[in-house]
Structure formats: C-alpha cells, structure tokens
Assembly symmetry: C3
Homo-oligomer: 313 residues x 3
C-alpha cells in the first residue's frame, strides 16, 4: 500500500500507484457489503461531517453509509438550515465544526477549490465530494474500479465520455484517472459542451457520436441537467437526444461487450434510452455499489488507520 | 411463530395467526422499552432506509427508533431534497438505494400500491408505512395490540371507527385487522365520508353517532385533516364537531369501560374534546408506545432473524 | 459532586456548587475529546430528542455530538416538517415523543419558559438549549468553563458583556453564572439595548465602550442579529460598529491579557474586527470545544448515571 495523503482533494495529483491502492482497498470493503453484519470498527469513535453546501442526496447517503459501516459517528450538515445562511463564512463554519473535534470533512460545494481551501486552516481530513465543475474524485475512482472489475484491466481500453463535458466535474476526474491508468479517452457531445481545448488533457475530441462509440470498450454517459437547462448550449432536449442520446439503434452498432456507465440520476429517454439503461451492458447500479466500497476505502486510507479490516465483534 | 413473509405490505393478506404472531412478538419488544438499556442487537449491521416520500414526522421517528433499538443503521430519505425532485423515478431511486446494500425499505407514499410496486424489483424487505388511502398496516397492528392488551381479547368486541373513513388508510387497515380477529366493526361519520359501500367489508355503517357509540367497547377516532380541509365533504369544522365530535356529554353515554383511541395528531376541540383526550378512557399515548413495539416486531420478523431478543452485550 | 437535579432549565436557580460540579465534570469529558476513540458508554440505550422548534445548526450539532459520544441514540426533531406545523400543541407533541420512551428532551424554543413548561407533564429529563430571551444555560456554563480554564478563577474578575443585552438569553444566563461565581459584570451597548434596569441583577451598566473595556479581564461580545435587524434600536450597522465594535484600536487599550469571547456565529466587521476575532486573545473556538464537554457533562449529570467515565469497550 502506497498511501500517505491526509486528504483526497482531486485525481489530478494522484499517482497511478495511489489510484491502485484505493481500488485494491475498495475490493476488500466491497466484500464487507456482502456480509450479514456489514460493519467494521475501523473508524469507531471518529466524527465525520457530511458538509453538503450544494445539495446531493445520493452522494451524501453513500458517504453517510460508508462512514456508518466503518462505525464512525456522522453529522449531516446541509447549507439550508445553517449558520452559512446567516452570513458566516465557510472558513468560520468549518473551524467551528472542527472545534467540536470533527476528524473528517466530506465537502460538496458549488465553488471549485473549496475542499483545497479548507485544508489551509483545518487539521481534519478533507474529502472532496464534488467542487463546482472541477473534480469529483470518488466518482472517478468508482468508475475506474467498475471498469477494472468488469474488463480486468484499464490500460489500452477505449473509454468514451459522452455529454455535457464542459460543466462536468465527473468528466474531469474521469479524464485524469483514466489517462493516468493508460486508457484512451474520447470526449463527445455538442460543440458548445465539448470544446477542442480538452485535447490538451490527452483526450480525443469528436462531435460525431458514431465516431465516439464505434470502438469504445466503455461509454460513460453524463447527465443532462435539464432541471437547470442551459438554453444557450443546445437548442432542445429533443435535439440533444436525437444527436447524442444512447439509443438501442446506436447501442447495436457498439462493440458486443461494451460497458454502459452513468453517474446517475439518469434521465430515461434523454441521454439514454430506458431499455439501454436496463440492458446487460449497463453497470449503472454496480457503480452505486462500488461507490460505497470506494468511499469506505477513501475514509479508511486518509484516516491512516492501521486497524485490519475485520468483522466487528 | 408463523411468520414467513418477506414484506409487510398490508393487513388484507395476513392471516389471523400472522397477526397474532406480530402482536406476541411486540409484547416481548415492549419489555425492551422498559429496560435501562433499550437496545437489542437483532439487526446489527443491517441498513434500514426510511423512505418518506409523503412527510410524516411521528411515524418516521417511530420507525427510526424501532430500527435504532434493534441496532440497525438508519438512513432517513425524504422526498424534499432528493433525486426524486430531479425527476428520477421511484423505481430508479429505490434500486439505487438498494445498490448501497440496503436491507429494508420503510416507505410512506401518497400513491396506493407504492410498497407493492417496490417488491417487484427490489430484493430488500419492504414495509408499508402508509400508502395513499389504501393501508397503514403498522397502525392497525398497534391499535389491535392496544385493544387486546386492554380488553384481554378481540373476538366479539364492538369497535367503532369514527370520522373520515373514506380517505383513511388507518380505517381500512383497522377494518381488515379487526374483522379478521373477530371484532364487530361499526363505521360512523358524515354520509359523504362514510359511504354505505363499506358494508361490503363486513362492517356496520351508520351516520348517527349515538347509535355508533352506545354499545362500543372501543371508539377509534380518525383525524379530521383540517389543514387540507375537504370543503365539499362537510360544511364546516364546527358542524363536524357538533355532529360527530366526541364530547364529554357523548362520552357519558358510552359504556363505562369504553376505550378511546386516536392515531394522532389529535385536533383538540374538533373530533375530540380536550378533556376526553386526557381522560382515563383514553389510551392515545399508549398507542404511541405500542407502535414502537409493533414496529420493532415487524422489522424483526421480516428480517427473519433467528437471534433471540436479549439485551445487547 | 453535588448534583441532584433532574433537569437543566436555567442558571438562575443553580447554586455555585452546582455550577462547579458541571464545570468539573466537563473537565473530564473534555479529555474524552482528545482520545483516539472519543466515545464513552454512559448513555448507551438511552434516547435523546433534539427538539429544535427554533432553528440552530451549531447548538443542535453540539448537543447531537455530545449525545453520540455518550453512546445515546439521538433523534433530531425540527419544527419545520413536524406535527407542530399541523397545529398540534407542544404539550401533545412532546408527550407523544415521550411515549416512545424518550429519556431526554433538549429543547430550543422561541418562547421563554417552554422548557419549564415541559417539566410539568413529562417524566423525561429536560435541558434548555435556549428559550426566547430568557436563558441559555449551557452557553453560560461553557463561557464560565472557558474563563475559569484560562484565568484559573472566576472570583473577582471583571467581565464585560457587550452588545444586544436586552434580547439576549446568552447575556442573562452569563449574568447569573458570573455573579454567582463572584465575578464583576459590566454590561455595555446602546442605551436602547442595555437599559439601566439590568443593574438590579447586580451588574454595572455603561453606554461608553471605553469605560466598559479598559479594566476588563474578559470581553464577551454578543452577536448583532443583523439578519433580523431591529431598526428601532439603533440607526445602522455602521453606527453600531463605530460606537461598539471591538476594533484593533480598542483592543490595544484593553488589558494585555484580556480574553475575547463570542457565542458565535460572529459577524466579522460588525461587532468584531476580523483580526480581533483571530488574535491570540480570542478564545472563540475554544468556547466551541468546551461547549461539547459542557453538554456531555449536563447530559451525564441529569441522567444521574453512576457509570464511571471510561473508554468504551
């Protein structure tokens, strides 16, 4: 194991060895989820703050369960009913929480860099649960874990990321993780959402879906956030679906063992056909299962605990 | 014990033996509530999702405490801040939660049949905490438990259910439970809220309160939901109270050992006089206590655990 | 130890010996916060209801963590989504919660006297977490703890409370605690917010900040609640800051070992300069740490538990 980091802030700064350490640790924790008693005492007596300044039920619950299964105490802190509303700064809010002897902060924030900012003045461990359009490292780790588990390797695979790349932290973190691990990444979507400049990150950029999917081993779809639809970026949802939706017809032209991924929640009939979401190629729900294992691994590793992963007494 | 069901979806499909099994199991758990350490390890390491798509503080807390006292991990999932808001289907939301290795779903939903729907695709246990105007099985079980405890039997008792029967899942579940156990059920309330068709369920229907209460061993009052008052069903709250409210005067004409019940929250001065709610006949708060025991019993039984009910180490 | 009370409702009725008992007990619990496993089994199997009818994230979390670290089960009950909204009385709501075998109620309420009211009909322990403008006893205890820890004593110290005294429960509880412990209390702020009548509580009242701070050993600043600004009490925030804000210049004229305190959340640039908040005199974050220890001590003492404070097995 080669893990010495106090925080998990991004994928960009991780080495391939560190990524592998997280994936290998997560394998062990995935087995815990299959036990009758799905709990280990690794973080017993530790306090984890789930600080979701930007709302997210599913990621919050995944982290909450991860902490519970490591036997930590968890405090959910959402922005809505909080002192942040009364005008307190993020710095003051988090220093106050740390003064309660919190050991770890899991933070989601609409501002890129918010988790890094916390590390400047907090002693606690900080885990980035998504910061603006910057990074969402645990999502990329769980995606990478899922691909490795299904394909047996990462090196040399063709992975296509399809959709709203420009505003997607999931895309950015995946690009970092996959290229570090030797996969070949293709980005595809409307010109307005997938600018050529992403080639500088070592990706292929195309705006023709046929080109993007024909030799893909993995297609990772991004959610079209139609509830905050960006009118200026594409004319209509229908047009998006027609040009970039993953339909049955398009799936039929993919490799026979292509993996379909999506960080969720999916929009059935928008970026993905309902039948495609539920077909054998889809590993969307396994991503969720693996996300829990990845988050347990991350909490465990940053804590630096030496306790072996064993069943609770 | 004769319990082999994976879910608790309704009372309608239960046998009298199954109802008795729940009541007997709940007796044991009621004793746990009297201990100094009110916890047993029966569901240790299990994850229970409290999925309240329709809000309810008191039922949610009752289930939350029931799960805690069985040592389960509980996740509260309310509709407000969730992916359901982003347009995700209930099926996708619950399958995602199950992918986190949730063991049980406790669901309250405004749509009748929602819990049954979940069982079509979830492997987890499903417990109905109220679905539309259909059923609220744990409420009926706790009511039945309370009557049996106070009266020593159910068979042959006259039980009157008074109020908004038409829209009440509490009424429907109670009708099923009580008639199965051999009690005689009378329904009473305004013609618009207590239609004659309910006689098909084996009940007596009357619209004169004097007739409904004079020989009742138990009067179970339903809440008039005046915060969403149904203008078309009765002219005014005052008129409802005059015609169907349980006043001191009316109580004086009841049997001397009549039991007054109410699922709560009560509207003092509307369906029940304040003094009646607090008099010796009232077992409203004991219903709450018994509800916790019933919910512990239900979680325990559907889990199929073989662990004896004993104090945690 | 001289603690026989079932509740903690106010500071006014406490004896100096009782205050000392809380502070001494809190010292032990502060050490628990430094351990690797920050948990003791003192309240295992007890149910604590965090009943925040008036919202407060930080105090709620402090109590929630205090209960968790004593191994209690905690239910958070906020007014927003509750039966209180449906018109249920506070009495009925809390009696229902108690029927679930809740052992302790921690209540914050906008009405002065709400915690005392609960003790009239509840068997459970009641802890006042702030009632209207009346009292906030755990805040005064943590303030007193912090002063005693830093100064080694309370007797004879000059403590200045600065700001919106009129509407402050923090001020009232501090006045009671400090005068009982032999400190000399000065109150300062605008005439409208610091009326002369407070002299009857044994305090000095002045409206000139220079006079209030020059010989102060401790300055306890109160938050200006500008989000609900009281237009009739002072002309503008700027004027308040000019006349009563604790600036660097004013701090320079204080005693060289003055302690700067604030119950938080602070308004940087309003009642306190940003640099003053972060300077060596400031113990604002230590107050937060001590608050957790005080709350653990209070929960422990009212519970009357005889279990020694030792690490969980």
């Amino acid at each position: 194991m080669s893990w010495t980091r106090k925080h998990l802030l991004d994928i960009e700064s991780l080495s391939p060895e560190e990524i592998i350490t997280v994936l290998d640790t997560a394998s062990g924790f995935k087995d815990v989820g299959k036990r009758d008693i799905k709990k280990v005492p690794a973080l017993r007596g530790k306090t984890v703050i789930n600080l979701f300044v930007e709302p997210s039920t599913r990621t919050r619950i995944s982290f909450e369960l991860a902490a519970q299964r490591l036997s930590a105490d968890v405090i959910n802190f959402s922005a809505e009913a909080s002192s942040l509303r009364k005008g307190e700064t993020l710095k003051d809010t988090t220093r106050n929480l740390q003064a309660l002897k919190a050991d770890m902060f899991i933070i989601r924030h609409s501002a890129a860099g918010a988790p890094h900012f916390l590390t400047r003045f907090l002693d606690a461990h900080v885990i980035n649960a998504g910061d603006g359009a910057h990074e969402h490292p645990t999502q990329a780790l769980l995606d990478t874990f899922t691909i490795r588990e299904k394909k047996g390797r990462l090196k040399g695979l063709n992975v296509t990321i399809l959709g709203d790349v420009l505003f997607s932290r999931v895309a950015r973190s995946n690009i970092w993780a996959l290229t570090k691990m030797g996969a070949k990444v293709t980005l595809c979507g409307p010109v307005t959402l997938v600018p050529k400049i992403f080639e500088k990150l070592g990706c292929r950029v195309t705006h023709r879906i046929e080109e993007a999917i024909e030799d893909a081993d993995v297609i990772n779809l991004l959610r079209i956030q139609h509830e905050r639809q960006r009118k200026t970026f594409f004319p209509s949802l229908n047009e998006y679906t027609a040009l970039f939706g993953l339909s049955k017809e398009r799936l039929a032209r993919c490799k026979s063992d292509v993996l379909i991924m999506h960080p969720g929640p999916i929009n059935r009939g928008v970026e993905i056909d309902s039948e495609v979401a539920d077909c054998d190629h889809s590993v969307i729900l396994e991503q969720v299962t693996n996300g829990l294992a990845i988050r347990m691994a991350v909490l465990f590793l940053v804590n630096g605990t030496r306790v072996p992963i064993e069943a609770s007494a």
